[in-house]
Symmetry: C2
Subunit: 319 residues, 2 copies
Amino acid sequence: MQVFSMSDTKFNLGIQDVAVYIPSTRIDNLAQGSQYETDSDFVLEKIGVRELPRLGEDETVTMACKQAFARLLEKTALDPNEIECIVVCTQTPDMGGIPHTSALVHAAISAPEASACFDIGLGCSGYVYCLQVVTSFMQMHGMRKGLLFTCDPYSRILDANDKNTSLLFGDAATVTLISDAPKFVSKSVKFATRGSAAEALTKKSGNLYMNGRAVFNFALTDVPKQISELIDASGMSKEQIDLFLLHQGSKFMLENTIKRIDGIADRAPVDLELTGNTVSSSIPVLLEKHLGKDGLNTILMSGFGVGLSWASAIYTKPE
Amino acid sequence: MQVFSMSDTKFNLGIQDVAVYIPSTRIDNLAQGSQYETDSDFVLEKIGVRELPRLGEDETVTMACKQAFARLLEKTALDPNEIECIVVCTQTPDMGGIPHTSALVHAAISAPEASACFDIGLGCSGYVYCLQVVTSFMQMHGMRKGLLFTCDPYSRILDANDKNTSLLFGDAATVTLISDAPKFVSKSVKFATRGSAAEALTKKSGNLYMNGRAVFNFALTDVPKQISELIDASGMSKEQIDLFLLHQGSKFMLENTIKRIDGIADRAPVDLELTGNTVSSSIPVLLEKHLGKDGLNTILMSGFGVGLSWASAIYTKPE
């Protein structure tokens, strides 16, 4: 890697490709629901999740990221020796975070020693934030190829007595290749944080605690507001956006959030039936399904959750 | 916060000021040494630490960061309403990392809702990396005022039976104001990672494990090499650098690392007697002491440790 200075040549970096790893081990969520005396209608229509993928008992975040990376190599011509940056977005790192999981991934995928690796701690807003953090970092340092991983296996921190979280969260890992040959580049973005309401989603005594009502109200109020402000400030109209990728929190929450933005429902997928809420992986899991589709020119992403933290961004084809 | 686009006006961002919080609770390291049957010569000359500051039992990372921020407000004219970005570098976050500690700090210092907050997981190389990450992120997004906190109270994860770590690590918190009115700006930087050697510093069963010999060899071999390469690539000479701020790992390791770079010893402080190894806080703790000194025009910083991860950067006065 070269030493940079602020005056060095810059590249126009963005999202080149996305690869996804969904563990093959699945929990039948209807069966799990009946253990909690929760009827199938609630499981399928309110939570919206039929199957929950789960990492194997000995399967680490690093191993899941390596699986996602193997899939990325199948679909791109990336030479691992070109990697200059590895970032892992997680709040459930391997080994309690020491070392950072990105160093373990660095070893697992045999990346070059001249790589900048760090972890970012963010939850459901993580993908939208991290895309911006990694792209900015790479851009300012003249890097051409970087990897953004997301993997947050909340299954490790679920309270088995809490049906609201146990029926909701699924495990997945994703990797996004950020490069100088992008399919999509960032056009505009908005970030927000409300630390004063952080108690809505916290880890207590090793387990996830969620105040579902507080999260629901936050999603329905603040997310549509930020999305509308972003569209207005970008000088675009809602109609110009081909795809709205919102964090897949739960079916009921998502459908009601989408309803708050007139006329976008047919462009805003609700697609968590076979994955559940995969935290920072939910948006890239969806993005991977849509990225290569014809006629897709403009994508709006919006992530929201733990923090409370939310961020929305518009991505377009490079000029 | 404004929506950005890649063509927006950029600012020349850098380090405006640094503030430090060292807890008033201290461990007498000579007394602690004698409990381990370690003589005072070893404690003072090899480890090089007379006193180890410790956070109070109920004092969180967030509370320590808030103390550092209070000191920052005493020495700058920062209006908290101007804050657009809060980053916390830690591998020992409050509440097991959910929410991210930066959200808790966001609430503790009453920062505006339109703030981008995230945590970065890195150890002893963290400050050098994070300065670059945060500055890049702010620069690309047109932000003018951001806060980079470091706080990694390893006291929380020390094995009381392990004298090598228990006699070494101290607690501290720092905050660096990154702004458009910088005293120092980044000129050049190098990053590296060797995940294959991560086992030298890990968390096992909740406690820190350190292979001191492996870390020592790493510091003495790779750090001087990176520093020399950075200086060469920057087009400067060693003589042009006024101050070398190396991570304060231990006195013996630091002195021997410095010896490997001819002629810099008088400009490379060894200053951990009253703090110990404060992980990602060690460099900003030193920087705060030197930042306002006359004749200081060029600073080289080098952080190295957990990962293994290392990074070195040259900062100069803005043009």
